[in-house]
């Protein structure tokens, strides 16, 4: 789906990333840690679309925000274009992070309701570049065209355009800085199916035109299957499986991935409700089970699973899973 790159090295290399939130009782004393991200490691290749999937509490949103610096990481490295940006003070990181941008679930909400769209689109360039007004206006108009909006929109306020158009403006704002990596957080959530297709097509067009890389965080597996080159599955703060999208979907190795895929309805095909086997709910993230986190619900669990946490092993071509018993 994307051109192979000629530059060496991944654009983003996450090593052992941890983000722990303190759990405090009524008196403000810390009673434990919520391990939202626990030793996450993965690489993102230039030009690819890497999907991050998982259910609520898996840490995928926290991952996006920690990469962006909205949360300060507890441990680990985030090597973006050769520079470690984890744990840097916001002012130092700002420069290094310029090429890394984040798109909210509702990009329209990222627009100041009291500002005209023109001003919102100029703002990133005012902050990060020395371009004069005319040069900025030119670039802004270019981007507006690229996202499929008429230049007349520049004089409007966010509440004067539709939700879908606000979304495009939000995207345009990020693109004015010509980033190289964009983290898309739940970009299709809440969209009607017919609109979803249009937005996804837009993402692909922009990827090609601006030579972008995407980190595509979503809970919607069908969308991820359509657009992502590779996918990483998260459960309770850890990556349990990662690999080429088609490979993972066709033959998932980790039991959790298997149950996740088994839960997706397939119109015209088998009925999930007839065959679905996963019971119960994920354990309390502040009080995790020992060893493998999935073992309390896993049909394959053996005593070994309670003793130690399985590491991601890349035992299959284009695929890795964190399970002792996967084959």
């Amino acid at each position: 789906m994307s051109d192979s790159h000629t530059e060496a090295g991944p654009i983003l290399d996450i090593r052992g990333l941890k983000k722990y939130f303190p759990i405090r009782n009524a008196w403000g004393r810390r009673t434990g840690w919520l391990k939202a991200l626990d030793d996450v490691s993965l690489t993102v290749r230039r030009g690819e679309i890497l999907g991050i999937v998982g259910e609520s509490g898996c840490g995928k949103s926290t991952l996006g925000k920690t990469l962006m610096g909205i949360h300060r990481s507890t441990a680990g490295e985030i090597v973006f274009e050769g520079n470690d940006i984890a744990g840097l003070a916001p002012s130092a990181a700002r420069e290094l992070r310029r090429d890394l941008q984040y798109s909210y679930q509702d990009p329209g909400a990222s627009l100041d309701p009291r500002w005209k769209i023109r001003r919102s689109l100029h703002e990133p360039l005012v902050v990060h570049s020395d371009l004069g007004y005319d040069a900025r206006e030119r670039r802004v108009r270019d981007i507006l065209r690229a996202v499929g909006l008429p230049p007349g929109h520049l004089d409007l306020y966010p509440h004067e355009i539709s939700g879908g158009q606000q979304r495009r403006v939000g995207l345009a704002r990020i693109l004015t800085l010509h980033p190289s990596l964009i983290i898309l957080d739940e970009p299709t959530s809440g969209l009607d199916v017919s609109v979803q297709a249009t937005i996804l097509k837009l993402f692909l067009d922009l990827l090609a035109e601006f030579r972008l890389t995407y980190l595509f965080i979503s809970h919607d597996l069908s969308v991820v299957r359509m657009i992502c080159d590779r996918v990483a599955v998260m459960y309770l703060g850890k990556v349990v499986e990662i690999g080429d999208t088609e490979t993972v979907f066709a033959s998932p190795r980790h039991p959790y991935t298997q149950s996740l895929l088994a839960a997706i309805p397939e119109i015209g095909g088998r009925r999930v409700t007839d065959t679905f086997w996963l019971e119960g709910e994920p354990p309390n993230p502040g009080d995790l089970p020992s060893g493998c986190r999935f073992r309390t619900r896993c049909p394959l669990a053996v005593p070994r699973c309670a003793e130690s946490e399985p590491a991601l092993r890349a035992d299959w071509p284009g695929q890795a899973a964190a399970c002792f018993l996967a084959e």
């Binding site: 017919s194 119109i267 015209g268």
Partner: protein, 355 residues
């Protein structure tokens, strides 16, 4: 149209017209909508945002916002009685919550956060328990009602039983908890249990799994279908996610901009869609072989909607008659239960490839 109900029909909505007063004018949210639900059937009501499915559910339940909404015509026959002609207090005491119950999209908002779950459920039983006779339930309620020790014990046993059947672990502990202490999936199970407690004939489930994770959704759908079958209760299941409709619905009706377009048994609806909108909707779903196809155009304004069939501005097959007058229902195929409202139904098409 004669107001008789067919032998198996539990709910018959005919020519329902609802308008909402807005700043820009009257939004014609429902335009002469028909819907039929048979006894014990699970019927899916699907459509995108603004299609009117939530308004239709609310109209059946009788909870449209009183000031803004106006029912301009039509009938809602439930068990032989037109609900629109009923006295609102009778509707409130006897029908709503007893014979027709409701599962909301957001289970958290339905609970009062400062009372334990148990006390809220028992409060429901106090007013709407099936142990109450019709007369008792319809009684004037300005005096506080007493639960009565014997009935309380019976009701509590019924509650615990039902909580067990929705697979909630340790029901007695749950009753003592507060709403924020249980998870989203558990809350939705509670809502299902509460909907079944009053032994209704119809449950209206408004997007009950939209807010849930996909694995929890699978569990809840499974549960809902099993219980509906066991208790012989009909379900009106609204959703914008066609996959969930495929999972548990016997019949599916699709709506667009306040008009119902096609109504068919599940198999016929998904495998042999007849209305152009249905066909386009199904092909815009993400799938392995499909490209990224959307439906060009926008959902029309309901204040000034297109004339005739409201889909005609975006339809490839639209002709003059489509603009002038809305097509009436016509049957497709050998069975009379696949109904479509279209002048140019798609009759000949490839079956949707099974993945």
């Amino acid at each position: 149209m004669a107001a008789e109900t067919g032998p198996t029909d539990l709910l018959r909505v005919r020519d329902l017209q609802v308008g909402f007063a807005t700043e820009g004018g009257v939004a014609k949210v429902l335009d002469r909508v028909n819907l039929t639900i048979g006894q014990g059937q699970i019927v899916g009501l699907v459509g995108e945002s603004g299609c009117g499915k939530t308004t239709l559910s609310r109209a059946i339940l009788g909870v449209l916002p009183r000031n803004a909404a106006r029912i301009a015509g039509g009938s809602i026959h439930f068990d032989g009685v037109d609900l629109l002609t009923l006295d609102p207090t009778v509707l409130e005491r006897s029908v709503r919550g007893r014979r027709i119950s409701f599962i909301p999209q957001d289970p958290y908002g339905s609970f009062n956060p400062v009372f334990p779950i148990g006390s809220q459920i028992m409060e429901l039983m106090k007013w709407k328990s099936p142990a109450l006779s019709e007369r008792e339930a319809a009684r004037n309620t300005w005096l506080p009602r007493l639960h009565g020790r014997r009935r309380f014990r019976e009701d509590r046993a019924r509650v615990l039983d039902l909580l067990r059947s929705v697979q909630l672990p340790d029901p007695e502990a749950i009753l003592a908890k507060y709403p924020h202490e249980v998870s989203g999936g558990q809350r939705q199970r509670l809502m299902i249990a509460m909907a079944l407690l009053t032994e209704p004939k119809l449950i209206i489930a408004d997007e009950p799994t939209t807010a849930l994770d996909v694995t929890i959704q699978a569990q809840i759908l499974k549960l809902l279908r099993r219980l509906a079958t066991e208790h012989r209760v009909a379900v009106l299941f609204t959703t914008h996610d066609l996959g969930t409709a495929w999972e548990i619905c016997d019949r599916v009706t699709v709506m667009y901009a306040g008009q119902e377009m096609e109504e068919a048994p599940s198999d016929g609806f998904f495998n042999r869609p007849s209305h152009p909108y249905t066909a386009r909707l199904l092909s815009s779903l993400p799938s392995r072989d499909g490209g990224l196809v959307g439906i060009p155009g926008d959902i029309p304004s309901l204040v000034d909607p297109p004339g005739g069939c409201r889909f005609h501005p975006r339809c490839d097959f639209a002709t003059e008659v489509c603009r002038r007058e809305r097509p009436g229902p016509s049957s497709i195929g050998p069975d009379s239960d696949h109904v479509v409202r279209c002048y140019h139904p798609v009759v000949d098409h490839p079956r949707r490839a099974a993945p």
